[in-house]
Symmetry: C2
Subunit: 217 residues, 2 copies
DNA sequence: CGACCGAATGAACGACCGTTCAGGGGCTGT
DNA sequence: ACAGCCCCTGAACGGTCGTTCATTCGGTCG
């Protein structure tokens, strides 16, 4: 065992076959996503991530300042894209709050089914970011929640939604949180191997949401 | 710096005031709950936990075989109690599926509001258990889910529930998962400082659930 | 009073962490 | 041909981790 220096005639660039074909920075991102999703940020080591894309530990720091910055980078890009998609879906859905809510649920749930790994990391690993970096992720989440609240408010005002009362008044924020919790956590258990398609999931969740907020038929 | 042996005249039993009053094993459990909930299992060290109850690292191993066993111990007791409470609530609620579902939601949501810390740990930190210990926790979770599925099935059969269809048939398991996700994650954002009481939370969630499954009035 | 025992101590151990950095290989442009 | 640059390597560093263990403490029983 120990070391071996000679006796390797042609292994001058030995790892080139194992190496991820993509540009290194993307390979690192992909490997980190996978590892963080499977085992969680704190127990995944820099060495694990880099080995998964055929590089050694030190190479990480040619592309990211730290392990923490890597996590923030991959979460922020996922979260930003989600926020953009949600806002786009709502703005393209016309003016009926029912159509807006249905469009929102459809985009949100289908994305959480299809990009399970990314959604899982973005939703579960935020807590490990240092407090400076966590702020803009939380801002984006609040923005998404406020989109839902705005749809509900418009629906209530227009008389097409009749959501449950809470202590005499309507707490639309609590309702939005309850619905978002439901939509977000499909990424925790939905598997493409199951018998239910992404399309059907989106439909199911949209139906339940419209019923929960008392949408008029 | 370095060490200091002399010059401490009366600190023979120095930590007795800092010590948690309860029996040590309970003090350890309580401290671990708090720390795991606030910062997450992998980054909480044995030294952290023991310092929080006024002991030193080594003393943990007089009460638990390992840090892993400690986590399993506190999760399993919380989970077992939850399963018991849910089954009791349902069995005491009479025979109407609507009453059963409402009773279940009430117990489940109120417990997740009141025992936020315990619920948070039990639901978020399972992944750190080694695969042997994780099995019976997952079994208990499945059992709870099956209680919900059974209530839904009874309601559908009796014609009092009319839940959304999924690809032509009714996927009660998916609906139960969606509802449980919603109920479970109140522990992630509900704060007793808010303007909404536990009682109101339970009512709100029960209303939404009954609407989502299409309960007849 | 002395033997005994469960429980706490705190130094020590080996392993592994994130990060740094000197060294070196293989491009590109001239 | 050669300089310059980007990127990768892998040893090394200072810490910290979970766990062990010889020792000591405080109380109880005979």
């Amino acid at each position: 065992m120990t070391k071996r220096k000679p006796a390797q005639t042609e292994a001058v660039a030995p790892a080139i076959a194992d190496r991820d074909q993509r540009p290194p920075i993307e390979a690192i991102r992909a490997a980190a996503f996978q590892q963080f999703a499977e085992r969680g940020y704190p127990v995944v080591t820099v060495r694990d991530i880099m080995k998964a894309c055929g590089l050694t530990q030190g190479a990480l720091y040619n592309h990211f300042k730290s392990k923490d910055e890597l996590l923030h980078d991959i979460i922020a890009s996922t979260q930003g894209e989600l926020e953009r998609l949600c806002q786009q879906a709502v703005s393209e859905a016309g003016s009926d709050p029912r159509a807006k809510l249905a469009a929102f649920v459809r985009v949100y749930v289908m994305r959480h089914c299809r990009l399970r790994v990314e959604a899982l990391v973005a939703n579960r690993e935020i807590g490990w970011l240092d407090s400076g970096r966590v702020a803009d992720i939380r801002r984006s989440r609040r923005a998404i929640r406020d989109v839902v609240v705005a749809i509900l408010a418009q629906g209530v005002e227009g008389g097409v939604f009749d959501p449950p009362l809470t202590g005499g008044r309507r707490d639309l924020k609590a309702i939005a949180m309850a619905l978002l919790d439901q939509w977000t956590h499909v990424s925790m258990w939905y598997g493409p191997g199951g018998e239910i398609t992404e399309e059907e999931m989106a439909r199911l969740y949209a139906d339940m949401a419209l019923r929960a907020v008392g949408a008029r038929p």
